[in-house]
Symmetry: C2
Subunit: 235 residues, 2 copies
DNA sequence: AACTCCTGTCTGGCTGGTTGCTGATTCTTG
DNA sequence: CAAGAATCAGCAACCAGCCAGACAGGAGTT
């Protein structure tokens, strides 16, 4: 099975880089003109589609959901960002004014720092190591996003859900008494919006996984008993 | 319909940045120690999963397919890179040796330049503007990848295919006598591998679109008559 | 205690995956 | 350049998986 490799390799590279860049970048960004440290409550909006894109964010604590809302009322999740993720980098794109086109919402209680794109650009020009660190941060984002694409190209929903759960384990997993707990309060609806399915289907599939003894759900937090065993459940 | 906005906004930001960074970056990377200009024939492998990740690539001409191969023999496409895309950036991740886990294949005849990650890192430290440009290049990658995630979360295959065709128009479209031609020779199988479907289904759906007069296919090149009209075909 | 949001379950209906086969196109190689 | 090989496109029949819609009971909130 090839998935575990992905999961573990991304995990190590991710955490190594996180450890190095996360802390240092925080310190650097905090010193920039116009920077701020923000606390956002679960469910509150960070930016809306159409807002001018002028700040760059670094997520310090918690999770942020980037989503896209359609007129139909449907909403899909484009990314679930974990700690040490850079976002809002669109604003770094050269010169011309641009607008956000995603909806960014605090998925948990969030602690983040932000600074105007112009300050960040100056900081990079002043000290190249800043650029290097941001480059590494962004590389992680690319990897993370591409893993999600892998997840979404699985044809049957069962594989897709399993793959997604493993991604969540990688990004939000904390060791539990037995297995790994995904440290997010996930509704079935939220999962459905992330993997392009429906609430009902997720309910059924999670039910199946539970009765197979693969996981436990306690107050919206999912615990995977054995990620490796779960990864074998690919069809 | 909201897709056209995405397409157009990404398109403008993409092309503006491409124009600025593409040319300059080429010149810079060409000067680095150990850099090279490579021509790769259609279908040839650029790197394999498991290869050591030590070079960074900038695609100058053509298209590169990043994919993942499973034991089952199944292969899925993670990204179709267009001109001016940076790839192989994984190798920039700090210090520790890492291996590729994607398969990179020239999807068309490809012209690209590459340089050792170490040289690139030095170049960034020497001149911060290099870092800034790469950052912008990578931001585009993130946007591009996230658009693909949007595509993949459409539930019905018809919308998914249409959305994918519009992405291809954005990235590989060239004006034609009537409409826009996607400048890639795409087999139905290749499309299926990119959007998580099957060859048979793609054949059927493309047939439908053709008989609706939305597109024309001539020797594996697809011409979309009216992208805006096509985008209205979302369910 | 009233309310909202979430989970669980059912039925019917249809989309899209699967398999198998045929003819067309494109590529390779003598 | 032509013959053979390989890949590709199109079609049909079958059936499973998933969506839609609806409703009832539970958990968490104020």
């Amino acid at each position: 099975m090839s998935f575990p490799q992905t999961a573990s390799s991304s995990q190590t590279s991710g955490s190594v880089t996180d450890a190095i860049t996360g802390g240092t970048l925080t310190a650097i960004i905090r010193c920039l003109a116009g920077s701020s440290l923000d606390l956002v409550e679960r469910g509150k909006t960070i930016f809306l589609p159409g807002d001018p894109a002028e700040r760059v964010y670094l997520l310090r604590c918690g999770a942020v959901r980037l989503s896209r809302v359609y007129e139909s009322g449907e909403e899909i999740t484009v990314a679930l960002l974990r700690e040490n993720s850079l976002f809002g980098v669109l604003s770094l794109l050269t010169g011309h004014r641009s607008d956000r086109f995603y909806h960014a919402v605090a998925f948990t209680r969030v602690e983040m720092i932000s600074a105007p794109a112009a300050s960040v650009r100056q900081a990079i020009e002043a000290d190249a190591r800043v650029g290097l660190m941001m480059l590494q941060g962004l590389s992680c984002r690319v990897l993370q996003t591409e893993t999600m694409i892998e997840t979404l190209t699985h044809r049957d929903m069962s594989s897709r859900l399993v793959s997604f759960l493993l991604v969540l384990c990688r990004d939000f997993g904390v060791p539990a008494d037995q297995g790994i707990t995904i440290d997010l309060r996930l509704s079935h609806q939220a999962i459905a919006e992330a993997i392009g399915s429906t609430r009902v289907t997720i309910t059924r599939l999670l039910g199946d996984l539970r009765s197979e003894g693969m996981l436990r759900i306690d107050r919206k937090k999912i615990t995977i008993f054995d990620p490796v065993a779960l990864s074998r459940r690919f069809s």
